[in-house]
């Protein structure tokens, strides 16, 4: 059986990659994709702890994370469509109407 910390290291590496993408990328769809990477890294960690501790609760949490990810993707992409229609760009640096 694979030791727990292998999964944790992989999860941490994936989370850090997602975070890097969130800070570096400027396209709003790429930002949403980075969030999805981070959610999956957390899912992996949840399932690793769940299977190593013999508790089902971690897998239930993954279920709820999936639901929230689905809701987030639906609303986020609707916002992306509205943003593209109004601003003709997806670059988050150009959406600066609220900045002075």
């Amino acid at each position: 059986m694979i030791p727990l910390n292998w999964y944790l290291i992989l999860g941490a590496a994936l989370f850090l990659l997602g975070m890097l993408g969130f800070f570096v990328k400027r396209n709003i769809i790429a930002l949403l994709l980075s969030v999805e990477i981070m959610l999956n890294a957390v899912n992996l960690t949840f399932v690793a702890f769940s299977s190593q501790n013999g508790q089902i609760n971690g897998q239930i949490f993954v279920f709820f994370v999936l639901v929230v990810a689905a809701a987030e993707a639906a609303v986020g992409l609707a916002l992306v469509i509205a943003m593209f229609r109004n601003r003709e760009t997806l670059n988050v640096d150009r959406s600066n109407l609220l900045k002075w």
């Binding site: 059986m1 030791p3 727990l4 910390n5 292998w6 999964y7 944790l8 290291i9 992989l10 941490a12 590496a13 994936l14 850090l16 990659l17 890097l20 993408g21 800070f23 570096v24 400027r26 396209n27 769809i29 790429a30 994709l33 980075s34 999805e36 990477i37 999956n40 899912n43 399932v47 702890f49 299977s51 190593q52 501790n53 013999g54 089902i56 897998q59 239930i60 993954v62 279920f63 709820f64 999936l66 639901v67 929230v68 689905a70 809701a71 987030e72 993707a73 639906a74 609303v75 992409l77 609707a78 916002l79 992306v80 469509i81 509205a82 593209f84 997806l90 670059n91 640096d93 150009r94």
Partner: protein, 162 residues
């Protein structure tokens, strides 16, 4: 044998995640994210969480990513334009701080040990359903409300005259 499979799936997942960040066009990024999700599902199966592996493929790769690809194609986007680099000075601080954060996070989880239980927990649909409809029945029902609100929000935001 199982270690080889773990390393294979981990390598695919990391490579796909790096490719998501490296691609210029978001369409290729999202296709690469599907590869990442499939690799994660393989890891779930290694951990005996079969139900979540199936759900991950069906809901994430099958529904959410199709939505992403659909929107990207609907908007008919050009590849990322290279705007002016507004973060030039922040890079000087950001790269060392990012490396430091990565080091600290990896070091924290490096030595985590747990005694694995035998027999291993199997995440069958039966076990997950039994827990979901007894201990977690209130969050489960609230989930339906969340989905309903997200549905209405998506319809409202995507309307023509927003």
């Amino acid at each position: 044998m199982i270690e080889v499979l773990f390393l294979l799936f981990a390598a695919i997942a990391l490579g796909a995640a790096i490719n998501v960040l490296a691609q210029k066009h978001v369409l290729y990024s999202s296709l690469s994210l599907i590869v990442l999700l499939t690799a994660i599902s393989g890891l779930f199966i290694l951990m005996q969480a079969e139900f979540l592996a199936v759900i991950n493929v069906i809901v994430y790769a099958g529904a959410i990513m199709v939505l992403f690809v659909f929107v990207i194609m609907l908007l008919n986007l050009p590849a990322d334009e290279d705007g002016e680099d507004r973060l030039r000075w922040l890079k000087l601080i950001g790269i060392p701080m990012g490396l430091f954060l990565s080091f600290m996070v990896i070091r924290t989880v490096w030595d985590v040990r747990a005694t694995p239980l035998t027999p291993e927990l199997a995440g069958t649909p039966q076990a997950i359903g039994a827990s979901l409809f007894t201990d977690y029945v209130l969050p489960f029902e609230l989930t339906s409300l969340l989905i309903l609100i997200a549905l209405m929000g998506a319809v409202v935001f995507a309307k023509k005259d927003l």
